[in-house]
């Protein structure tokens, strides 16, 4: 199981590097889908099949299909052929990112040293009851207010997207004539 974790972790990091190195947006999207699938496999290894399923369905499925549709709608071919520009700002950006990585790793390792089983949901109990049953029960009891609020948020997001992406009437007249 440990071997599989390191395998998927290495694949996720490599594919994520592909996201920032590859030139074509479509290749970037494909590499991001691969990263999401590897992370979903890691969620599965951690015994959380519900999160793994929604990761595949929503991230790798819905969101990335949305991205691919937008890439298809916008003609981006002009920007594909150009080589990657590496100058002082880019190197500075990488240096900042490495600083953030060092900070994150130091924080995570100090917190992880103090980490112990605190909750009531042990891996064995989750495996017995099923993570989907536990998540469903919690969503409709303890977290029912945020659950209702995100449904409103989703509705607002859909309405906002429709309003934003709709063609303006005067543009329509110009193109029609």
């Amino acid at each position: 199981m440990l071997i599989f974790f390191y395998l998927f972790a290495a694949a996720a990091v490599l594919l994520a590097l592909g996201l920032i190195v590859l030139r074509s947006p479509v290749y970037c999207a494909m590499s991001l889908v691969g990263t999401f699938l590897c992370v979903a496999a890691i969620f599965l290894l951690l015994g959380n099949e519900f999160v793994a399923a929604i990761q595949v369905l929503i991230y790798a499925g819905a969101i990335m299909v949305l991205f691919l549709f937008v890439i298809m709608l916008l003609n981006l071919r002009a920007e594909v052929g150009k080589p990657m520009h590496i100058g002082v700002p880019q190197l500075l950006g990488v240096a900042i990112a490495v600083g953030i990585l060092a900070q994150l790793i130091s924080v995570f390792f100090s917190a992880a040293a103090k980490l112990g089983p605190l909750g009531e949901y042990s891996g064995q109990r989750v495996a017995e009851e099923g993570s989907l049953a536990i998540v469903g029960k919690l969503l409709l009891t303890e977290y029912v207010v945020p659950f209702e609020i995100i449904s409103v948020l989703l509705m607002i997001a859909v309405m906002g997207a429709v309003v934003l992406a709709k063609r303006r009437p005067q543009q329509h007249v110009e193109e029609g004539s």
Partner: protein, 100 residues
């Protein structure tokens, strides 16, 4: 049992790759994909902590973050379509509508 610090380290590496992409890349859609990668790295750290602490709170947070990420992707891509119609480019260096 997978060691929790290793899960968190993977999450930190993925987050850093996302940050690097946001800083280095100039294509707005790729920048947006890097933001999604960062959100996913945060999800991974939540699940890692939930796994180590035997709690379900992290998983609930992942659920809510996922919904917010979906909403953000929908609205962000709609804005990007509108900007592309106006400017005919997706280079983030040329988006200077709010500059004066």
């Amino acid at each position: 049992m997978i060691p929790v610090p290793h899960i968190l380290a993977l999450s930190a590496i993925l987050f850093t790759i996302g940050v690097t992409g946001v800083i280095v890349r100039r294509n707005a859609i790729v920048v947006f994909m890097c933001i999604e990668l960062m959100l996913n790295a945060v999800n991974l750290s939540f699940v890692g902590f939930a796994y180590g602490m035997e709690s379900m709170v992290g998983v609930m947070f992942v659920f809510f973050i996922l919904v917010v990420a979906a909403a953000e992707a929908v609205v962000g891509l709609a804005i990007m379509l509108e900007i592309f119609r106006m400017r005919n480019t997706l280079n983030v260096d040329e988006f200077n509508l709010l500059k004066w």
